[in-house]
């Protein structure tokens, strides 16, 4: 559906993306990268808002730049708020539907469907100025889906949404992908992306660092020692027992907080499966468990070094 071949985009001396080659099929694809990685630039190339400095981008087999026929089949939800505050949500979605060439006779029903999908029917007739961040996000998504595009591009769509809103939007995206449409979702939060899809494109400093199944990247991460942070009643009591486990390579106590210890493991899955029994045997309550390595920065660190 989307083919990108050797695409680079420079803003003067600043690089947006650098020699990116990939294809994006139907289904849900996540564009993962830290802030400034080039996600938004790639999205703007796909939505025809920018021309690549070198290379080529094709959507539905055509160059999307200023091409109405291609843009008619794309739904785009930008990261930033992009609307008139004095319009109501319904007016805004209607205007966007008109611009997307939805016939006037079908306009009201198409807008109503879109608003239903994002759970905004009740607040649709109040002005956007009164909307919360989450409501604005929903209206932006509604305008992107109102004309039933074949390709839906959502730039950080979960920003500002409450947990329920996130779940509803993820469910909407999955339903949409299951209908054979393509969805590209950008995010800088690994955890969020894992809940949505397995297929990712990983961008770092304008370069495509990895693409494919997120589980493979996870496996790659797991080849490196993995740090896990535990908060218990008494870290020194449970520490020796943890160190006895074959999967654990090292244990380190926190000098400032006697309840906290940090361990290093080469087999996190094995450690997690053993942790329950260990906690019961030590009769220690674990109040907090986290992995400092389980974030995007670590993924990039591993991929760049490894």
């Amino acid at each position: 559906m989307i083919e990108i071949v050797g695409a680079s985009r420079w803003y003067g001396q600043v690089i947006g993306i650098n020699d990116v080659t990939c294809s994006i099929p139907t289904g849900l694809t996540a564009l993962l990268g830290q802030n400034g990685a080039g996600k938004s630039t790639l999205i703007k190339l796909i939505t025809g808002q920018l021309k690549p400095t070198t290379g080529a981008v094709s959507v539905f087999g055509r160059n999307p730049f200023a091409c109405s026929e291609v843009l008619q089949n794309i739904g785009y939800c930008p990261e930033t708020d992009s609307f008139y505050e004095e319009m109501t949500g319904r007016q805004f979605v209607s205007l966007m539907a008109r611009l997307s060439r939805v016939p006037i006779n079908d306009l009201a029903s198409a807008v109503q469907y879109a608003l239903e999908q994002v759970q905004m029917v009740e607040r649709a007739d109040t002005v956007i100025a009164s909307y919360s961040k989450g409501m604005r996000q929903r209206i932006k998504v509604a305008q992107a889906i109102v004309h039933d595009p074949k390709l839906l591009i959502l730039d950080e769509p979960l920003n500002g949404l409450d947990p329920l809103g996130r779940r509803q939007l993820m469910s909407l995206m999955k339903d949409y992908a299951n209908k054979g449409r393509a969805i590209v979702v950008s995010s800088h939060i690994l955890y969020e992306v894992e809940q949505m899809t397995q297929h990712i494109l990983l961008l770092h400093r304008g370069r495509l660092l990895a693409k494919g199944d997120i589980r493979e990247i996870r496996a790659l991460i797991d080849q490196h020692p993995h740090r896990i942070r535990l908060e218990t009643e008494n870290a020194r009591k449970i520490g020796p027992r943890i160190l006895e486990l074959d999967s654990v390579l090292a244990v380190q106590y926190d000098r400032r907080d006697p309840r906290v210890l940090e361990l290093e493991t080469a087999a996190p899955e094995e450690f997690y499966s053993q942790l329950g029994d260990l906690v019961l045997a030590a009769d220690q309550e674990v109040s907090h468990l986290s992995s400092p390595d389980n974030n995007l920065e670590s993924v990039f660190g591993y991929l760049v070094q490894g």
Binding site: Y11, Q49, L50, Q72, S82, L99, V102, D106
Partner: protein
């Protein structure tokens, strides 16, 4: 315990619009329509300015009324030398004050508001081109301005035709009706182009409006000062042309040339002065329009591109 019945089943599966995606009509129309709607939404200010812009035409009605009364009292020999209808119309056409405020109301925020709210990004991701966007924005100012100038002028001309006798009026001034279309389009075109160019380069509608006010007034003043300074060294026609060599001057001068009469008021007993030359004024209006549109076109883009 009362039985409230089962709650309605919410169908949350995705049901999207799957009809055709082509509508007749130009692609710029939704943008123009939205712009007009936003202007008309500023109800109190817009309608007040529109009402005030009728004042010069109310004066024409008054003059026509006086004319008919004195005719009845004293016969065809009137006690004052009333201006001819085209002179009255030319006078009213040159009254720019309230019309100019409507330009600011309709145009200052046209693109500036989109810049402020990043709306260009979302507009240009739809099935419209940059040209559609520009035409839509231009039309949203042009159509409002055209209506604001045309409606009172046409209404008063119709009144004048009936007041002065339809047959006589059509014989003498019949060509005024098509001319009204042209002269209403002149301020609408010039203001729409220049205002759009200024609006495109700003993020705050108020700043865009103030810049246009500054350019508009300063230019008018400058032209008049130059004409006064060169008073002795220029011919009468040239002096008049220099005096008109500004945005408002070109609009008024071209309009007066189309009407074929200079402004003359009720008690003004002097003969109307000579019309300014239309060629330099037309050239000035075209240059202003081209510059305005080029400035707007250069600034319209979905993304801010960092320059090296």
């Amino acid at each position: 315990m009362s039985d409230t019945g089962a709650p309605p089943i919410a169908d949350l599966s995705y049901r999207n619009y799957d009809g055709p995606k082509s509508v007749r009509g130009p692609r710029w129309w939704p943008i123009a329509r939205n712009g007009i709607r936003l202007t008309l939404r500023k109800k109190a200010v817009f309608w007040a300015l529109f009402a005030f812009s009728w004042l010069p035409y109310v004066m024409i009605v008054f003059q026509l009324f006086i004319s008919s009364v004195t005719e009845n009292v004293r016969g065809p020999e009137r006690f004052i030398d009333l201006p001819k209808y085209p002179e009255m119309l030319s006078n009213a056409y040159g009254s720019w004050f309230f019309v100019f405020f409507i330009v600011l109301l309709a145009g200052a925020g046209s693109i500036a508001a989109d810049n402020r709210s990043n709306a260009q990004q979302i507009y240009l991701s739809k099935a419209i081109t940059k040209r559609d966007y520009l035409i839509g924005k231009w039309m949203s100012i042009f159509l409002v301005m055209f209506a604001v100038v045309f409606i009172p002028m046409f209404s008063v001309t119709c009144y004048a035709a009936f007041n002065l006798g339809l047959g006589d009026f059509m014989r003498q001034y019949g060509t005024l009706f098509p001319k009204i279309f042209v002269i209403a389009a002149i301020p609408a075109t010039v203001h729409a182009c220049v205002m759009l160019g200024i609006s495109a380069w700003n993020k705050a509608p108020t700043i865009a409006g103030l810049i246009y006010v500054g350019i508009f007034l300063a230019w008018n003043l400058f032209a008049q000062i130059v004409a006064a300074l060169l008073h002795d060294s220029l011919s009468r026609e040239m002096r008049r042309t220099v005096d008109y060599f500004s945005i408002q001057g070109s609009i008024s001068g071209l309009g007066q040339n189309v009407i074929g009469a200079m402004p003359r008021q009720f008690f003004d007993r002097h003969l109307p002065p000579q019309l300014p030359a239309w060629q330099p004024l037309l050239a000035l209006a075209i240059v202003a329009c081209v510059l305005g549109l080029a400035a707007a076109r250069a600034r319209i883009r979905a993304v801010d591109v960092v320059k090296s």
